[in-house]
């Protein structure tokens, strides 16, 4: 069975491990990868008038930066493997957005790395991995 893997990616070492894991699985199954970079964003935050004015320009810069700094370094690596990869850069609540992408792309699995925060930090701020296992619409693998 060929599957589609949604991989949450931010160019950190856990994210790279998650990508390697997914690439390996996808290559064996003849599957494909959706590499998603989600920037944390809530439409309910408060901004100053000046920030409102600059927001559209800022967003363009952020997306451009994500393309070069986050997705850029993996492009060479992905070019060498024989797995179809589609990339997505977007905004939102990271775990919720990844689930939404999984549903929209018809993914069969999700893979993310674990940042390894301490128990206290995770308890206070929550962790993406923790939230994801609770709400994932498809099987979810967390790579340590």
């Amino acid at each position: 069975m060929s599957g589609k893997f949604v991989v949450g990616y931010d160019d950190s070492s856990p994210a790279r491990r998650a990508l390697d894991f997914a690439l390996d699985k996808a290559a064996r199954q003849g599957g494909s990868i959706v590499l998603a970079h989600v920037m944390e964003w809530s439409p309910y935050t408060f901004l100053t008038p000046e920030e409102l004015e600059e927001r559209h320009a800022r967003r363009k810069q952020e997306i451009a930066r994500a393309e070069t700094a986050i997705m850029g370094p993996v492009k060479d690596k992905l070019a060498k493997v024989d797995v179809p990869v589609e990339t997505i850069i977007t905004y939102g609540h990271i775990a919720e957005k990844l689930c939404e992408i999984a549903k929209q792309t018809g993914a069969t699995q999700m893979v993310i790395g674990r940042d390894g925060n301490s128990a206290l930090v995770s308890r206070v701020f929550g962790s993406t991995a923790g939230t994801l296992v609770q709400i994932a619409p498809v099987p979810c693998t967390i790579v340590p």
């Binding site: 920037m39 964003w41 439409p43 309910y44 935050t45 408060f46 901004l47 100053t48 008038p49 000046e50 920030e51 409102l52 004015e53 600059e54 927001r55 559209h56 320009a57 800022r58 967003r59 363009k60 952020e62 997306i63 977007t90 905004y91 939102g92 957005k97 939404e100």
Partner: protein
Amino acid sequence: MRIVRKDNSMIFRLCAALAAYFAAALPAAAQGLDQAINQAFADYTGWYVSLIFAPIPGTNFSWIAMWLVVAALIFTFYFGFIQFKGFVHSIKLVKGDYSDPNDAGEVSHFQALATALSGTVGLGNIAGVAVAVGIGGPGATFWMVIAGLFGMATKFTECTLGVKYRNEYPDGTVSGGPMYYMVKGFAERGLKGGGIFAVLFCIFTILGALGGGNMFQANQAHAQLAGVIGDYPGWITGVFLAGITFAVIVGGLKSIARVTEKVVPFMGIFYVVVSLLILIMNYDMIGWAFGQIFVGAFTGLGVVGGFTGALIQGFRRAAFSNEAGIGSAAIAHSAVRTKEPVTEGYVALLEPFIDTVVICTMTALVIVISGVLNVDPETGLYIWNAEAGRISTEGEVVGVALTSAAYARALPWFPVLLAVAVVLFAFSTMISWSYYGLKAWTYLFGEGKAKETVFKVIFCVFIVIGAAANLGPVIDFSDAMLFSMAIVNIIALYLLMPIVKRELGSYVSRLKSGEIKKFN
């Protein structure tokens, strides 16, 4: 090492000496300067202030407040009571039900509304209401709410135009506001004079920003602080506020502004919650208080001026509190990301509702219930203090102090918190108005770092002046400027309202046909 330390201590001593000198010399100098500035302003601008705030013959109702209320009525009828018909749709828009998920990361309707609100919610809701109820009696609240409800249509009109005619620059930044719809909208309708209107609006905005949006705020913040801590020179508050504002608007220390923008909405919510708490504590009196408000609205409850007194005060405070028709909100709302300008109009109409109908009513109810307004035990009517021209109050206090006293009856610790809230509200209003003023400034003089810095420095200097001095005529003049904005803005709104109607018609029909779809 030793030499450096010596140098430092010398500098320190020099600074201390200078500070001591200014502490001693400034108040005296400021007083002299006060009088000189007051006199100059009274001499040269008094006629203009009198003109703007002139009463309609035979009444004591200023024509400018009537100008705002009549405009609100006209827009309400012209757009078929949009504030009631569109209320639920407005809330859905703010919730993001109609926001395209692909636009995530752009300015949301909620953010534009929250930012505009933090510019308007402030002293008007706390001090202004106390003034209205103190002079017009509880009945003033009724008329304030009515004026707030109609004002929603004015906000709808100006903010729709603000988004429709904003400028989008190649770098992705946007600039909008009345000056842009005056020029572009007039041209589209084949009308002349848009440029002159825009220039006039910008001049009034700059002066209004320095006055009502700055000096008045600093002045009142100092008054409340001095009331809690004890009297001290105003320039200390001024220098402190100016320092923070300077760090934010000139130094680009956005974190402070961001913290304020976050804290202010919570202060607003907290204020409403505390008010509700007091109302719940006195639940048996709520019915009576509403009775006072309704009966007072039509009879005046023995307050001198009676029915008209209540009406005038209510209308006046509402118009002054929610800024509907002034044009400032159109600047704040224009940055939102939407393909449909009307959607921002819908969102903006919630502003007078939150500001006037909810927050102002809370303040009024607490003042009425608390019993700080003195009642004659024999007649059951309010005691009129003829000398002061208002209802006699406990301790004969007015404005912020009256609100403070009313809340303190139920919650003795409230005045301290209110002082913090007033300072924060004043600060966030100043940040918002520094931006409105700057937009007007750059419209007139062009963009550029040096030109912008000049305005920002002037703005900070006026904070110190506002807090330090009792500049009655100067503040009157700047208030007059604020309402002069409304004169040019509302004329422009009348001329451009057919465009808004067309936009609204097209939007509503596409909404009904399902062409505009819900995403959530």
